[in-house]
């Protein structure tokens, strides 16, 4: 196990960046797929990426249009741009679920608030799309958002053997998860997603019973392009993740300006006042205590989070 040898591409003999868990490696020079785990062999599809120039243009376009950033656009400087293809398993899963739960509702009747519990139950079956990275760690900035975007609306993808690799080539991150492991992970994720969806759609506060049978109908390995631009403003460095096929901004970090801090401070003061108002009302009317307590906590937590934001260093925006 301790021996390490140089692994070369089967097609062009270029050296490959082999790691102990690599399942396949796509040669960055010729695009040839080198398999290391025969039983995990599957068809690979590529979501072609735009080129670096188009990515950089999209970045400047956004900065010039953004209401906060356009004022400082001349002070921005790109320090690094890189793109990678991230291997992602996209899968169609048949799910059928049986559930039974409780909804708790606060209702106001004759001027009095009351918490009522409603029992609900149902069946759910559907065909859903789920994707996971074919890697142990979702570590790349913006990858989480990319995965979500691909499961919501899978972009066009082409069989890797039918494309001209030279036109769209980028480094491909190694795949570390075999098909078997991916299947169990996809089923795990499908169960979790459906549980959340049922809970949300039916306003459930808790489940009495939830079961979910999931069957994978189809599974593809996609290479999805992810670009990261690092830019400099004053002395700080900020990152932006862009989806390479349609130039969507997946995740951006931006500096916090002084006037934004002042807004947050005032916001915090006003939210505190609202909380004080509610607290005083509660002491006056001495009824509907639960409602008042919840509303007060909401106001004060909002005020507290705004006050914390006053000293934050970056603003993070995510693709929705």
């Amino acid at each position: 196990m301790t021996q390490e040898s140089i692994v070369k591409c089967n097609n062009c003999s270029a050296p490959l960046e082999y790691t102990p868990e690599s399942i396949f490696i796509i040669c960055s020079y010729c695009g040839n797929v080198n398999w290391f785990l025969e039983e995990s062999k599957t068809q690979i599809f590529v979501i072609p990426s735009k080129n670096e120039g188009e990515i950089i243009n999209a970045f400047w376009d956004r900065m010039r249009k953004d209401k906060d950033m356009k004022k400082v656009v001349n002070e921005l400087e790109i320090v690094d741009t890189y793109g990678v293809y991230v291997p992602i398993f996209l899968s169609k899963i048949d799910v059928s679920s049986l559930w039974n739960g409780i909804e708790r509702k606060t209702i106001i009747k004759n001027g009095k608030t009351k918490v009522v519990t409603i029992k609900k139950s149902g069946k759910f079956s559907d065909e859903i799309l789920i994707s996971i990275p074919a890697r142990r760690v979702i570590e790349e900035f913006g990858l989480e958002e990319l995965i979500e975007k691909i499961s919501n609306n899978p972009p066009n993808h082409i069989n890797i053997e039918e494309i001209n690799w030279n036109e769209i080539k980028l480094q491909v991150l190694n795949s570390e998860i075999s098909i078997n492991e991916a299947s169990s992970k996809l089923i795990d994720k499908a169960e979790d997603n459906i549980r959340k969806r049922i809970k949300k759609e039916n306003n459930l506060s808790e489940f009495i019973f939830y079961s979910c049978d999931s069957k994978i109908k189809e599974m593809k390995l996609l290479l999805a392009p992810l670009w990261i631009i690092s830019y400099k403003y004053k002395k700080g460095i900020y990152n932006i993740a862009i989806s390479g096929n349609d130039l969507t901004f997946l995740k951006t970090t931006e500096p916090v300006f002084f006037y934004q801090r002042i807004f947050q401070l005032f916001g915090s003061a006003l939210a505190t006042l609202a909380g004080i108002g509610l607290l005083s009302l509660m002491f006056k009317v001495r009824e509907d205590i639960t409602f008042f307590i919840i509303a007060c906590i909401a106001c004060f937590s909002f005020a507290y989070s705004l006050s914390r934001k006053t000293i934050s260093d970056v603003r993070i925006e995510r693709w929705k």
Binding site: T2, P20, E21, P255, A269, T272, I276, S280, T310, S312
Partner: protein, 329 residues
């Protein structure tokens, strides 16, 4: 010191006492000193060198709120150490079954868990909550360690396996209990040992105006694990005046609201107390000598899946076991 003989190449070399595993400095074979069995051993090369770590640290600090304007010009490195920290890594597949009036349901959980295999750092607690990446590890070779400090594990893999199992147990049972009110029990628990990984971490000390600040950077991906930095006088006064504004504004507001609704004294008290709580993040920063922070990464970035695990770590308090043993190779 004890003598050890490598079962792979036959070389003799010295090892410190009380360690569990060692790596032959000649051929890189890692083995258990008692059983002489080979141990799967990986290693993360440093992708972030000394220079990039310092640049990354400075740019991270520079964008934090309230850093003095002359920070980049007036700060310089005092001391840098590269630690190779051992981790036991496990792959866990767990399943829980719940039996209720409505039928039977099965829940699954699949996760990779890294447990620090060494205790004795001042930053043990940071390691516990750090999200280690497993990307790009390669087979261990002692020549690759360069000038780093290599720490042999002083926490047994079986012990770490227990912790990994406890973590998986609590996560799958939590999922089962949230999904089903019937009788739940664990129906499958496969904990597979992936291996021992040595992971690089930079410990950097810098000086700014005669004051020393300590910092930690992940050597594989450059994530800032821990920073300390100074706060400028301007920022301190902004924070203090903001807090004062919040307290006065809210107390006065409380007084007026109180006099309209209930009583002015009660309103004033509500206003004063709530504004102190709301302005506490500003006040605590304004009064700290050194500001501390770390780079926030998304929850899913981790091979340790959630914060609950960190709580578990605290409960189990695994990092109070042995005195540290450190040696250079």
């Amino acid at each position: 010191m004890e003598q050890a003989k490598c079962p792979n190449c036959g070389a003799n070399f010295n090892v410190l006492e009380n360690i569990l595993f060692t790596t032959c400095p000649y051929c890189g074979y890692t083995f258990n000193l008692k059983t002489l069995q080979e141990w799967v051993h990986y290693f993360f090369p440093i992708y972030i060198n000394y220079n990039s770590a310092w640049i990354k640290l400075r740019s991270f600090i520079s964008r934090r709120y309230g850093v003095p304007y002359d920070f980049n010009e007036s700060s310089y490195i005092k001391n840098v150490m590269l630690h190779y920290i051992p981790l036991h890594v496990f792959h866990v597949e767990a399943e829980a079954t719940c039996q209720s009036d409505m039928g039977k349901a099965v829940y699954h959980k699949i996760l990779d868990i890294a447990i620090p295999a060494y205790s004795g750092f001042w930053f043990d607690s940071i390691l516990n909550s750090h999200k280690f990446s497993i990307r790009g590890k390669i087979f261990f070779k002692p020549t690759l360690l360069e000038k780093g400090k290599y720490y042999p594990p002083n926490i047994q893999s079986d012990y770490a396996k227990n912790i990994a199992q406890n973590i998986a147990n609590s996560l799958i049972m939590k999922e089962a209990n949230e999904s089903c009110k019937g009788y739940s029990q664990i129906s499958k628990m496969d904990v597979k040992y992936i291996g021992l990984i040595h992971y690089p971490i930079w410990e950097i000390y810098y000086i700014y105006r005669n004051e020393i600040y300590k910092n930690l950077i992940d050597g594989t991906n450059g994530k800032v694990m821990f920073v300390e930095y100074p706060l400028s006088r301007e920022a301190r006064s902004f924070l203090l005046s903001s807090s004062l504004f919040l307290i006065l504004f809210c107390s006065l507001g409380g007084l007026i609201i109180g006099s309209l609704i209930i009583s002015s004294i009660l309103g004033l008290i509500f206003g004063f107390i709530s504004s102190i709580i709301v302005s506490s993040p500003l006040l605590s920063t304004a009064f700290s000598l050194k500001i501390r922070g770390y780079e926030e990464i998304s929850k899913k970035d981790s091979i340790i899946p959630s914060e609950e695990i960190m709580d578990l770590f605290k409960e189990l308090s695994i990092f109070k076991i042995k005195t540290p043993i450190v040696f250079d190779i």
